[in-house]
């Protein structure tokens, strides 16, 4: 469970097209890394996968995103349930100014998932799942924000897995962390991949190479000529560039012998 199929996805911020014709199979219980230069639409794409962009006014999509065969943008789709099934971890930890316990228990409480005794067990299981239990088991009532950044980030992961998701989206989850803490999160990601589908956006090529199974290279490219272009956009057609996936494949291959010259240029640092 947690298989994602993206078919010909176009995404618009108002009249500006940000993604064009993105298609990818994101296999369950594997780690898929999205790499590419800044501004190419990686985060935008990631946020399409749990409809986080819905919260931004004027956005719209074309194409389909299927989670285990169900179109997540179908009319009548339950967005709250979608965001439970597809959790997200951000660049910087975004905990509530509450205790460790209350942060992890937040989702299950809102969703009414457990009775009280079971809730405590679920919180422990989530903290164990995020490899944090031993560090915080005696400090469950302590303010979550008093912990180190690395611990806070793992607490965010615990909070996500507390609601039993199928997919975890991670938007540069280690960019604020030092190398040792980063390795801890990477270990955790490999552990989590046994149970969850993970999609990670990273600017760290070595990280993508180390932890992911599949790598997708995104880049701003000329919009395909038959792509629907909004007439209100000022830019001349030839200069219109939108984000798309230019190459996707097994991570080992992408970093040792990419087939697209643009991927080669990017991973060897020749881009731009």
């Amino acid at each position: 469970m947690g298989n994602i199929t993206v078919e010909h996805l176009n995404f618009y911020y108002g009249s500006k097209q940000a993604l064009s014709d993105v298609s990818i199979e994101i296999p369950e219980q594997q780690i898929t890394a999205l790499i590419g230069p800044s501004g190419c639409g990686k985060s935008t794409f990631l946020r399409c996968l749990n409809r986080m962009n819905d919260t931004i006014k004027g956005t719209r999509i074309e194409g389909r995103i299927l989670l285990d065969g169900q179109d997540i943008y179908a009319s009548g789709a339950n967005v709250v349930d979608l965001r439970r099934r597809v959790g997200m971890v951000f660049q910087r930890p975004n905990l509530f100014p509450q205790s460790v316990f209350d942060n992890v228990a937040f989702g299950p409480r809102v969703l009414g998932m457990y009775r009280n005794g079971d809730l405590a067990d679920a919180v422990e299981a989530s903290l164990r799942g995020a490899d944090l239990w031993d560090e915080v088991k005696d400090k469950l009532r302590q303010d979550a924000l008093s912990f180190s950044l690395g611990q806070q980030q793992r607490l965010c992961i615990a909070r996500v897995i507390a609601v039993k998701p199928q997919v975890i989206l991670m938007d540069e989850p280690c960019s604020a962390l030092d190398p040792i803490t980063t390795l801890k999160i990477e270990d955790l990601m490999r552990e989590l991949a046994h149970d969850y589908t993970i999609v990670i956006v990273t600017h760290n090529m070595q990280q993508a190479a180390r932890v992911s199974d599949i790598t997708a290279m995104m880049m701003l490219a000329d919009a395909p000529v038959d792509a629907p272009v909004d007439a209100s956009v000022d830019a001349p057609a030839g200069h219109l560039k939108t984000g798309t996936i230019i190459e996707v494949g097994e991570t080992k291959r992408i970093f040792t012998r990419p087939t697209d010259q643009r991927t080669e240029d990017y991973v060897t640092g020749r881009y731009g």
Binding site: Q206, A209, F255, T256, R257, P258, T263, E264, T268, G269
Partner: protein, 221 residues
Amino acid sequence: MTASVRMQFEKHLGQLNEDVLQLGSQARQAVARAVEVLIAGDVEAARQVIVDDEAINRRRFEIERECYALLVTEQPMAGDMRVIVAALIVVTDLERIADHGKKIAKICLRMMQDLRPIPFGDIPRLSQMALAMMDRALRAYATRDLVEADAVCKADDQVDALYKQTFNVVLSRMLEDPRMIGPGTQLIQVAHELERVADRATNIGERVIYSVTGELAELNV
């Protein structure tokens, strides 16, 4: 303004390639001189080939260290990674090629103890063919030329054929005349070293293909 980090890396890669090619010409020289001194029976020159091998061994390690430094400092990906890894493997082949030259020089010293004239037969031709393959391999390496790299690998069949022929000719001489068994055995050894030089030239060809395309294939079949 100082050069960008990327430009520095390009410079180091360029330097690495030059160093590999220079080692290549030293190794080629070792084999060519070894065969020359063997045929000329020049004991002093043979000793010099053996002494000179030390410098080649040292140079190989220097280049290896250069590669390791680039791997850890640049953490190269894709084509950059392939160029450096290919260089690491090619310098090993080049060092071994020089060793084949050294072995021929040592055989020369042994054969000089036998004062009878030695019929070298096809040894000079075998040497020319092996050296021509090396030249091609080094040219392919210098220009990342896939056609040239492939041609090196194809030429190996001719060297193998001539090696077998040399082997059979020397063997029949030894059968005809038992006094030929001593020098004949040495000649077969020389032919074998040259045949190995050609094999290693194909290895270099394979690494050129890898560095350009990422394809790993045994072409010396």
